[in-house]
Each structure stands twice: as C-alpha cells, then as structure tokens.
C-alpha cells in the first residue's frame, strides 16, 4: 500500500497519508508523540486498513465478502472471527436503528447466526455490504491503537466523512472542524471536538443517491447532510447513515437510544 509520511522533530509532529484505501483517503496527524512510536502506530493502522479493505471490499473478487456473496446463499458457513464480530455489530445496529442501518438492503430476516457463529443465508439474492460500517470500525480500532501508544493530540481524517479527534489541537483546547456546503462551498457549521468522532453523510452535486432505504429500495436524493458527533466512532458512522433516511419519528426514537450522540441535519 502506498503511503506518505513526514515527521518534524521540533514540534514532534507526525503526518501520515494513504491516498487510497477503502475507496477514499486516510490521513493521521499526531503531535507530541516520539517519532518511532508515531511511525509504529501509523504502520499498524495502515496494516489494519489494508487487511480490512481486502476482507470487506465487495469489488475485489478475492475478498471474504465477495466469496460469500458469490455463493448466493449458504448454510452454517464458518467465517473469520473478525468478520463475525463485524456481522454481530451490524445486526445489533440494525435493531437499534429500527432496520434503517442494514448491511443486507432489506433482507436481514433471511440471515441468521448460530450460537457458535456459523452463518446461514437463506436467500440467493441477499448480498452483504459493509460499506456503511467499515470506516467506523477502522476508526474505532485506530482510536484504540492511538490511545495505547499514549497519543494525547491526534487527528484522523478518513475521507472527510469520518473524523476522529483525540485530545486537542496543540494550540487550543479542542480540534476545530468546519463543514462546507458541498453545493456552494459556504460554511454550514463548525464543530469543536475533543475525544469524539464526527461522521457526516449526505449527497453532493457529483455523488447523489448512494444511500438506499432498505425497506423501500429507494435511493435517497435529498439535498441534505447529517452530521453526528459521538464518543464512539462506530456509533457516529452508523447513525449518520441511518438518519439520512429516517423519518421524524424514527429520528427522535433512534436519537434517544444513542444518548451520547449529537445529531445535526442540514437541508441544503
């Protein structure tokens, strides 16, 4: 995997960038961490990203997901333990979002897991898509790695839509991030985040209709953005997607079951 890094000793500033992974770009900045620690952590994060990408990428025929999808149904299939974890998380989120967050696009009832973790898919049409959770999952693991490394000031930008702020900016008490309106560049909002993740979902002039309502099958094409900040990067990621297609009642109920989340909706 192609990566670029730089370290500036005076500020103990590390910057790492992967131009392309999971369909987007990943960037990390840490301040105050020693060079060898920062570089080791970055290498672990990159290895993690690469491994998850090759496991969850639907467009690569070699990935575990593609192999499962190519079976068009399966009976008590043994899957890797990490995929099992992600699957369990996804099912849990499906319940907590009243079915709006759905890795099966409306066919969750045709999927089941045994207590031992064996996967059964009873419909040949069911395909798995972890696109809505993969980035959050990687962010959560990245956060754990950074904390283990002792990082106190770190900022992770994963394709703009998933941002993670650990500690604070070296010259401030938080990290400040603004949200431009993708239709005209005007700033819609500013977030001051500290030890929180910020996830943003929505449509843009060039990329619209990528969130599909699992129950109606309709692509959402509203000029709308949902931003969620939460302590958990996973919760934030899942919520920003699910709330793009939630109705008013669902929005309120789902919001209550994620009490740490701060949710904002922008109609553009």
């Amino acid at each position: 995997m192609q990566t670029e890094t730089e370290y500036i000793r005076e500020q103990r500033l590390f910057h790492g960038m992967v131009p392309r992974v999971m369909g987007t770009k990943l960037e990390l900045m840490t301040v105050g961490t020693e060079e060898d620690v920062a570089r080791n952590t970055w290498n672990e994060i990159c290895a993690d990203a690469e491994r998850l990408d090759s496991m969850l990428n639907r467009f690569s025929p070699e990935s575990e997901i593609s192999k499962i999808n190519a079976m068009h149904g399966c009976d008590r299939l043994k899957i890797s333990s990490e995929l099992l974890d992600i699957l369990r998380l996804s099912i849990d989120y499906w319940y907590r979002t009243e079915g709006l967050f759905d890795i099966t696009r409306g066919r969750m009832t045709e999927l089941s897991l045994t207590d031992e973790g064996l996967l059964t898919i009873s419909s040949p049409e069911l395909t798995l898509d972890f696109g809505g959770i993969a980035k959050g999952y990687l962010q959560a693991r990245t956060e754990a790695k950074l904390r283990r490394s002792g990082a106190e000031c770190a900022f992770v930008d994963f394709g703009n839509s998933a941002i993670l702020a650990i500690g604070h900016h070296p010259f401030g008490d938080s990290w400040r991030v603004s949200l431009p309106n993708p239709y005209n560049g005007a700033i819609l909002d500013e977030f001051q985040i500290r030890d929180r993740a910020l996830s943003t979902s929505g449509n843009t002039p060039g990329y619209t209709g990528h969130i599909v309502h699992p129950l109606t099958g309709k692509a959402n094409v509203e000029r709308k953005i949902v931003s969620v900040t939460d302590r958990s990067a996973l919760d934030a990621e899942v919520l920003s997607t699910a709330l793009m297609i939630a109705d008013e009642g669902q929005r309120l109920r789902i919001g209550r079951s994620f009490p740490a989340a701060q949710i904002k909706t922008y109609h553009l």
Binding site: G23, K25, N160, R176, G206, Y207, I225
Partner: protein, 441 residues
C-alpha cells in the same frame, strides 16, 4: 425629484465599482479593458446630456430582445425600427409605439435624428449594414458573429480603424460579471497555468422556426443555409472561442476539424454536428464541439489549468487539490505556525480521482448560474443588457470600447476558418493577411 436608479446593467456597474475599490482598478482594467468606457463615474457625467437616439435594424427575435432591454436603459431612446418582413416590424412597433419605421435600412441611415444603430439581421447582412452605417456617420452595435466571410471581417476591421464612430459586437460574455470575475481568478493564478480548453454547446432541437408559407423558408430559417449563416460555429462557437482567447491572451495558429449533418437531414446545408480543434503556437489546444441532437452535455466552457478548472459558463471552479488535502495541509501549517483555527474538512465521503469528486466553488458569491444554453434568443442578465447599455453610453460620449471589435474579429475569423477546415478536411494555418495588431499568436 425621483432619482434615476433603475437600469438593467446596474449589477455590472456596481460590480465594477466594488472591484475598482478592492483592486484599485488595475486588475479589472487588465482583465476587461473595455469596461473603462462604461464606469459608473462616466455614466454620472452624462446624466444631464441628451439620450442616445438609437434604431434597431432587423426586428426579429434578437432585435425584440434588445428592444426590451433598451426600455430599461435610462440613457437610451429608441427612435426607429427597420425590417423587410412586415410581421416582425409590426410586433416590434407594438413594443415601442412611438418609433419611426423603415423597410429599407439605407433610408433609415439617412435619418439625422439617429445617433446609433443596432443590427440584428441574419449574419450575411452584418458586414454590409455595418459598413454602410459607419460611412453614414452612425455609431454601430452589431450582433455577433462579425460577418459571414473572413474577407468581410477584414473589411469591417479596416473600416473600424479609420472611423471615429464607435463599433460594438454583441459578445456579451465580455460584460458578464461571472466571466470577468473568473478571468480575474485565472489571472491571479487560481487554476495554475492554463493547459487546455474544452468548450461545447449541445442542444436537442432542430434549430428551425415555423414558416407561414414555403417561399419564406430561407428568409426565416436563414440559420440553416450557407448563403446567410456559418452554422453552429458562427452562431454558437464565436462566443466560446472568444472566451478561450480572452483567457489565454493568445490567438490559435492551426485549425482542424470534422463535421456533418448527422440527425436533422431536412434539406439544411449547415452541419448539425461539429468538432473543431484549435492549437496555439505553444501547443495548447481548444477542443470545440457542438451537436444539436443530444443535449446531455449542455453548454460548458472549461478552462483547464494545472491546479484547477473553471467552467466559465456555469461560473464554477474546481481545484485539482481537493478540500480534504488542503484541510489537512491547513492543519499542518497551523501546528507549524502556532495557529488554532477551523479546517474545512468535514463532509460527505470524498472519492478520489473521479470527476464527480471535485467540489464546485462559485466564481461569484451567492451561487451558480443555471444558464443551460437552450434558448435561441438569449438568457436574462447574461451581459447582453450591459453591453447594449455600454454602447448607448458610447453613443453619447463617442468613446470606443477597447478591444471589443478585436475580440469579435478573431473569434469570428477562427470560427469561419473552422468551417473551412471541416468542409475541406484539412489543417489550416491562420493566414498572415488576416492577422491584426491584437494579442500574440
């Protein structure tokens, strides 16, 4: 007494004022020198003088469009109309009942009460009427393109260099705020070095107008016949080639292309599909396309730079280096320099290296233009009103608008050469005898 504050082109004048204020006027004059003849200060000076008395020759659809705009120009008075086709003359007269009417433009030119004429006839008459009007001592505002042939273009240009009358061609993009602003941004280096240009105008319509009786076919559908029209190149291409030269400050040296009648095989003579490429001496290329049986691509004028792209027609620009990279860059710079500020990084997922991943930024504050280029008459507030107002102002002051004729000259000659290149299927080198002292090759 009520102050005269109404005016169609107030927006542009306000814009000139603001720009003049911000940049001391120098950048504006470097970008659009023709605006110096119509500054708000100069307009103020002529307030007490009598109005420009103007006449419209050719009162078809574009003529009527200008008549509507003239009504909103406080320093203009429409005194006469001329057309050889009675129904159009009558429709126009209904718009301005007091005006005198003529059916022969030569008689109109004898009228001493007329300061300037607005020529909106079919293309083949642009040069003859312009030349006659200038020799009759009238100021002239003529529609684009300049003329039907390159010989006529040269004759008009030569006449212009000898006359003390003002001459305008309706290249309205030169007076359109979003184009001027975009050219300033290009000049300021926003998109880096210009490396190429892609312009196109796609519509899905046959370009025909209904004909009340068959013998009027060629008169009404003049656009479709070579005797009167240069087809898509002169009708649409002129505007778009003009902005490319405006952006590069150069004139292309070689021209090649192909065209044909692909879909509208209805007896027309002009191509309904053209594809011409213009190469500058330094290797840069304008790719020009127009097709009128598919409108998917709409109208665009893309100036491609090493650091970004400006679509002049839409008034938006895109940067090669997207927000996200610059967001992290900004953050790194902040940490290096001890600054704590927000970075514009949040947003829906970023996709690398796709056209769709580019974020559009408006050239003029307040959003994007929605001009689709489908109208055959003209869009509102596209600069046509401002250039007409500038002409009326010149009729009073006698001050020529710098470079307007030169821009129209080169864009028209290039479009006509494009036609020759397509018809004769050869690569054309810009002929020496048609070079004028304006810009470099």
């Amino acid at each position: 007494m009520k102050e005269e504050t109404q005016g169609v082109d107030l927006g542009l004048r306000k814009f000139i004022k603001e720009l003049g204020f911000i940049t001391g006027g120098t950048s504006l004059l470097a970008t659009a020198p023709w605006l110096s003849s119509c500054t708000p200060e100069k307009l103020e000076e002529i307030k007490s003088e009598k109005k420009a008395r103007v006449a419209v020759i050719g009162t078809g659809s574009r003529g009527q469009y200008h008549i509507h705009n003239l009504k909103n120009i406080p320093h203009a008075e429409l005194v006469a109309l001329c057309d050889i086709y009675q129904p159009n003359l009558e429709t126009a007269l209904a718009l301005c009942p007091g005006a005198k009417t003529y059916t022969d433009y030569r008689r109109l030119l004898e009228d001493k009460d007329i300061d300037g004429v607005i020529i909106t006839t079919p293309l083949h008459l642009h040069a003859p009427i312009t030349l006659d009007a200038l020799s009759a001592g009238k100021h002239v505002f003529c529609e684009k393109a300049m003329a039907r042939t390159i010989e006529e273009c040269r004759a008009v240009y030569d006449a212009y260099t000898k006359t003390d009358k003002v001459l305008y061609f309706c290249m309205q993009r030169m007076y359109d705020e979003k184009y001027i602003k975009a050219m300033q941004l290009i000049g300021a280096g926003l998109i880096g070095d210009i490396v190429g240009m892609r312009c196109h105008w796609f519509r899905n319509a046959d370009w025909r107008r209904p004909v009340p009786s068959p013998e009027l076919e060629r008169h009404i559908n003049w656009r479709l016949y070579k005797e009167y029209s240069g087809g898509l190149m002169t009708e649409l291409g002129t505007h778009q080639i003009e902005v490319c030269n405006w952006a590069t400050h150069m004139i292309p040296t070689t021209i090649c292309g192909q065209g044909g009648i692909v879909h509208w095989k209805d007896g027309r003579e002009v191509y309904d599909s053209v594809n011409v490429s213009y190469r500058y001496s330094d290797g840069r290329i304008i790719t020009y396309e127009s097709l009128i049986s598919n409108k998917f691509n709409g109208m665009e004028e893309q100036i491609l730079g090493s650091k970004g792209t400006i679509d002049l027609a839409k008034g938006v620009y895109y940067l090669e280096e997207d927000n996200m990279i610059s967001g992290m860059r900004q953050l790194l710079d902040q940490v290096k320099t001890g600054v704590f500020a927000a970075i514009p990084t949040a947003g829906p997922s970023w996709k690398p290296e796709l056209k769709s991943a580019y974020v559009p930024h408006p050239v003029v504050e307040g959003g994007f233009s929605v001009v689709g280029g489908e109208s055959m008459i003209g869009a509102a507030q596209d600069g046509s009103d401002a250039i007409l107002s500038a002409f009326c102002q010149s009729c009073i002051t006698g001050e020529k608008a710098k470079d307007v004729v030169e821009e129209a000259y080169y864009s028209t000659v290039l479009c006509l050469l494009g036609n020759t290149a397509m018809e004769e299927n050869r690569v054309i080198t810009f002929p020496e005898e048609y070079k004028i002292p304006y810009m470099k090759f």
